[in-house]
């Protein structure tokens, strides 16, 4: 299967946007190559702003550009896109209702060798708590590219989260619908709700479960906020138990959002595949996913636990 990094999906999507929408502008804090923003920079130099290593200024300046009618896409690592600039996002972007697209690469453990300083695992939580913020975590190159293009047409602040490693491409090219859960695989024993890189692990886990006679449904929740409540509640109506899977802290992530929804509507057993109140460390992406319990076998085990609790 072909593999490509999701950040390249962002870079290619941004370039396409640049061709068709002259209001789209790019800002980057000294990570143009890492964010794959070079093509946009080369083709549209007037609409590209090199911000230097000054993320706070970048976010507030993006709010200014949005005030004047531009559609700014900011680019830096997820850590520097969120935690470092939370107050700028809160006041100048979210509370001020600005049409800023905060595009965050190298999210989660799969950043790899750089270690925990750069592996933010709290960003989804930080961003989803902000009123009016849309939070999107696509699963592969195609979906990241489509999401990048789609958010330009969405009026309002968006947090778009993607990653560094080369990852299987398993979704079709095409349109991205914000807030619409994607059904990836049918099943009747358990529903696995996954986001980002963990969608792939969940599909692989569903295959392994099938070999043991367990039928697992897999749903791709690329948009964590607004959550597709209806799709989630419809899915669990038959399976009656749930696994959530994400490259994020258990606190504040996708699983937490789904637990809130289920608790209010239809309490069911939930097992969460996520990082459990811990920082990451250096290692290869695959080693880290294994060590922190986000591997394929961890999703398999979680599914069995969920079913046992029915």
């Amino acid at each position: 299967m072909e593999k490509k990094d999701t950040r390249s999906g962002f870079g290619d999507g941004l370039y396409e946007l640049g061709l068709k929408n002259k209001n789209v502008v790019g800002l980057c804090a000294d990570l143009t190559g890492s964010l794959k923003m070079n093509k946009f920079q080369d083709e549209f130099p007037d609409r590209f702003f090199q911000m230097g290593i000054a993320e706070a200024n970048m976010i507030s300046m993006a709010a200014g550009l949005a005030t004047a009618g531009k559609i700014p896409f900011t680019g830096t690592f997820a850590n520097f896109s969120t935690g470092r600039v939370y107050d700028q996002i809160r006041q100048s972007v979210a509370y001020s209702d600005k049409n800023v697209k905060i595009c965050a690469s190298h999210a989660g453990l799969t950043l790899g060798e750089d270690g925990a300083t750069h592996q933010i695992l709290e960003d989804i939580g930080l961003m989803k708590m902000l009123p009016g913020m849309t939070v999107i975590n696509p699963c592969d190159y195609n979906q990241t590219k489509a999401a990048t293009i789609a958010i330009a047409d969405h009026e309002g602040p968006v947090y778009l989260r993607f990653g560094r490693p080369k990852w299987p491409i398993f979704t079709e090219e095409g349109k991205f619908e914000i807030g619409k859960a994607l059904h990836m695989r049918s099943g009747t024993d358990v529903t696995i709700f996954a986001t980002g890189h963990l969608v792939w692990n969940s599909l692989e886990a569903a295959k392994a479960l099938a070999e043991e006679g367990i039928s697992a449904e897999v749903i791709n929740i690329h948009t964590i906020k607004p959550l597709d409540n209806k799709a989630i509640l419809d899915a669990v109506a038959e399976t009656k138990c749930v696994v959530t899977a994400e490259e994020h802290q258990m606190n504040g992530g996708l699983g937490d959002s789904i637990c809130q929804l289920l608790a209010r509507h239809t309490p069911l057993p939930v097992e969460m595949v996520a990082v459990n109140d811990s920082f990451g460390e250096s290692g290869t992406p695959m080693e880290l996913l294994e060590k922190y319990g986000l591997g394929i076998k961890d999703v398999v085990a979680a599914a069995k636990r969920a079913i046992a609790r029915k």
Partner: protein
């Protein structure tokens, strides 16, 4: 039509009345810094900005823009906006009250015409202004972006990120005014985290720096005109505006004590007696 100095004086007196009445009315808010900036915002809104108060557009296409970075001086800002026609003067009576568009710190969130960004958490306005200024350059507009910051606010590191950015990128349609009143909540700025020679600091970053007496209407008028002339010459412009916190209300001057407290009934009457105006209260 531009207002004469005599007319502006009347507006300044009315603005001072509005400030102390608003803060008194809700027994909260920031009168000191607001009073110090009354002349500046009066001249800016009555005589300098090329804008359309009766037809407010968020994107300010082909208009000058003012961004208030030190949002706590919202009373003077709201007064200037109301008296230039952005919203009814009577609405000043709702300042800081439940369901108001005149929030404690300015916001776009309640839809108040004239406000283009929320401010209150300090240090962000210069960056926002840089963004609007860069958008105007992309649009090939010749209009200007003004921003006001407090001198204490310069302790925020983000300000210097934006100072560096604006100079490096020749954002020369940007006029940043610093309210140098030498005071902040905990005391005098020189004792809390002093600046030696702000002029040299901005010049070292390659800004064009001019100074004015912010409580002298003629000087404010002349200096803002001069700043306009200096724009478009490859450097952002900084105006170091020396002011007296609490200016125009004698018992509020000379200390930082009136940064964020409200006058009582007696103090209000005293302040109003010092500032008669022909314009009329809200």
């Amino acid at each position: 039509m531009k207002k004469s100095i005599a007319e502006l004086k009347d507006y300044v007196a009315q603005t001072r009345r509005d400030i102390v009445r608003m803060v008194h009315g809700v027994q909260s808010g920031h009168p000191g810094g607001s009073l110090g900036c009354a002349e500046f915002l009066t001249v800016l809104y009555q005589n300098v900005l090329r804008h359309s108060p009766d037809n407010f557009n968020m994107d300010a296409k082909d208009e000058d823009v003012f961004i208030l970075s030190n949002g706590h001086i919202s009373p003077v800002y709201y007064s200037a906006l109301a008296h230039s026609g952005y919203f009814p003067i009577s609405e000043l009576a709702t300042f800081r009250k439940i369901n108001t568009r005149l929030q404690g710190h300015p916001t776009t969130h309640e839809g108040l015409p004239g406000v283009r960004i929320a401010s209150g958490s300090l240090g962000q306005g210069l960056s926002v202004a840089c963004g609007i200024a860069q958008a105007k350059k992309l649009n090939k507009e010749d209009k200007l972006v003004y921003v006001l910051m407090g001198d204490g606010e310069l302790q925020e590191g983000q300000v210097w990120e934006a100072v560096m950015y604006a100079a490096h990128n020749k954002v020369d349609n940007l006029i940043a005014t610093v309210d140098v009143n030498g005071r902040q909540i905990d005391g005098d700025t020189k004792d809390i985290m002093g600046f030696t020679d702000l002029k040299s600091k901005f010049e070292a970053f390659n800004w064009n720096v001019i100074s004015m007496d912010g409580n002298n209407l003629e000087d404010v008028q002349d200096t803002l005109s001069k700043a306009g002339v200096l724009s478009g010459n490859g450097k952002p412009i900084c105006i170091l505006m020396n002011t007296e916190m609490g200016n125009g209300v004698d018992f509020m001057m000379g200390s930082h004590e009136w940064h964020g407290i409200a006058p009582n009934d007696e103090q209000l009457a005293n302040a109003l007696a010092q500032n008669p105006s022909e314009i009329g209260d809200y």
